[in-house]
Amino acid sequence: MIVVQLFINGIIAGSIYALVAVGFSLIYSTNRFVHLAHGGFVAVGAYLLYLFFTLFGLNFYISAILAIIVSGFLGWLVYTLVYIPLKKRKASNAVLLIASVGLLILLENLMLLIFGADIKTIKYIQIRKGIEIFGGVITPLQIVIVVLTGILLLLLWIFMKKSHLGKTMRAVADNVDLANIIGINAKKICYLSFIIGTALAGIAGILVALEQNIEPSMGTGLIIKGFTGAIIGGIGSVPGSILGSYLLGLVENFGIWFLPSGYKDAIAFSLLFIFLLFKPAGILGSKGKYEEPKI
């Protein structure tokens, strides 16, 4: 059954895009700038896992936790060294975007310099023969990825809805001025959400590393898909970005029914383009959240 197989492939791809997109969109929702270097941090997360698990030979779970902590720390470092000074200068969003592209290239080439260009793999969960579901094939590893992503996204949703910090973050995302008036330290919340977002990139990197090969340029490919998913769903909305990512995964995979598989990326960008033109706020983003830059 080709439909089932394409659906399964779409969900697997969508899970990975969603992992990248949530952190990206969490950062955007409070900080209001496009942090394309987020993809670089996903690659950093994957390489950190490789460093601790394969090179140092640590226990897998300890390696994973270390990788997440170090990712979060690096996020803090980049935010303090680059973004805070730029924000202090009142740099426009476009400047921050260009700086983030610079950071993406910087991270990618640092990985290349440190770890070399050859492809790395993490052999923690062995690839086994796939299981058949309604005529489609899915490997146990892919089931693990899809389920873990689901649990993680659910936890994040509960965190954003129920916890005090999550509520504060949503308040800042909604209206910075109002949040400041009622005594929320918006700057601190921006800081915290950047660090949490980068730690999420680390987690994404770990899960991606289990399924795919690790290579320095992986971050660019992933962030393109992640931010496409985020824009489709509504860039400042975390649930929107999750929805958009799964939608992107499905559209891409059903698209290769009609076009050669090499066109997956072109399908994704065309979708991105259509949304940027006709509905820049995305599916779940409210009209008010897409702010016209001041003239």
Binding site: R89, A94, V101, E108, G262, F269, F273, I295
Partner: protein, 291 residues
């Protein structure tokens, strides 16, 4: 030996000066934050390469066609993104770049995909074949001077003032009865035209092109050049091209292996870009801020 190396460097610098000044026309003078400039460069290179390998058309015609096709894409991009501003425009143009890149990579029946197009002939103009690198340098220098001269006259003309007015206050221009969409697409089409002919020059010089010559790295390089030189300053772009392209050449004398040389070069560019945004956003000779 050293002469051949210098000639090669000068040819590359000449091509990048055309790219940089034309991008400055879009970003600096017209205020269109276009991150898709390399796509126009690539379109020019591919059109020129495909036409000269597959047809017997004269070089000068191919050269002009490469520029015009790129400028048609410039019009399409502007028509599509007219409503967008600031970081949304930057994202859309970056997306445009990725679409074109993936077309180069995947439209294998036309572009041969990752294999690239080898054996692009050196140009011949009215029977005169530009074979040696020195002759090619002369040709690049002439095209470069003409391009810079044209853009200089353009930005100094009343039309150039109109471009800058559109950048500074689009609404006010509309109030005065100016068709700002027309002004913007014209500026982007001119900018794309020069990127296209720069692509053609590049393709016929290297005689081989593949998609990797038109990747995200090239965008960073050209953006760094324009930002260092300063927005709305042609002089700045020219000087910055020379500085930025010469910096990594110093590394060559350290005799580093190529596996270190490549990434180091990109790290230097990325660092320069971030530092210039942080500490001197107006660049060397910039007249306006990036918005």
């Amino acid at each position: 030996m050293i002469e051949a190396y210098l000639i090669h460097l000068l040819i590359i610098i000449g091509i990048y000066i055309i790219l940089a000044v034309s991008l400055n026309l879009a970003i600096g003078y017209t205020g269109l934050l276009n991150l898709g400039h390399i796509a126009f460069f690539g379109i020019g290179a591919y059109v020129s390469a495909l036409l000269s390998v597959n047809t017997k058309l004269p070089f000068l015609l191919i050269f002009i066609v490469a520029g015009f096709l790129a400028s048609i894409f410039g019009y399409i991009l502007m028509a599509a993104t007219n409503k967008l501003k600031g970081d949304y425009l930057a994202l859309a143009t970056l997306g445009f770049n990725f679409v074109i890149y993936s077309l180069f990579l995947n439209w294998t029946s036309l572009t041969r995909g990752p294999l690239g197009i080898p054996g692009i002939p050196r140009p011949s103009i009215f029977g005169l074949i530009i074979q040696s690198n020195f002759a090619y340098l002369t040709f690049v220098a002439i095209v470069c001077c003409l391009s810079v001269g044209f853009l200089y006259l353009l930005v100094k003309s009343p039309y150039g003032t109109l471009l800058q007015a559109t950048r500074d206050n689009e609404l006010a221009c509309k109030v005065l009865g100016k068709n700002t969409f027309k002004i913007k697409w014209q500026a982007l089409a001119v900018s794309a035209f020069f990127a296209g002919i720069a692509g053609s020059l590049y393709a016929h010089y290297i005689t081989f092109i593949d998609p990797s010559s038109f990747s995200l790295y090239e965008i960073i390089l050209i953006l760094t050049i324009v930002l260092i030189g300063g927005l709305a300053s042609l002089k700045g772009s020219i000087i910055a091209t020379i500085i930025i392209l010469l910096i990594p050449e110093i590394l060559r004398f350290l005799a580093l292996p190529s596996s270190i040389l490549g990434p180091t070069r990109q790290i230097i560019y990325a660092l320069i870009l971030i530092l210039i945004l942080m500490f001197r956003p107006r660049g060397l000779f910039g007249k306006v801020d990036l918005n």
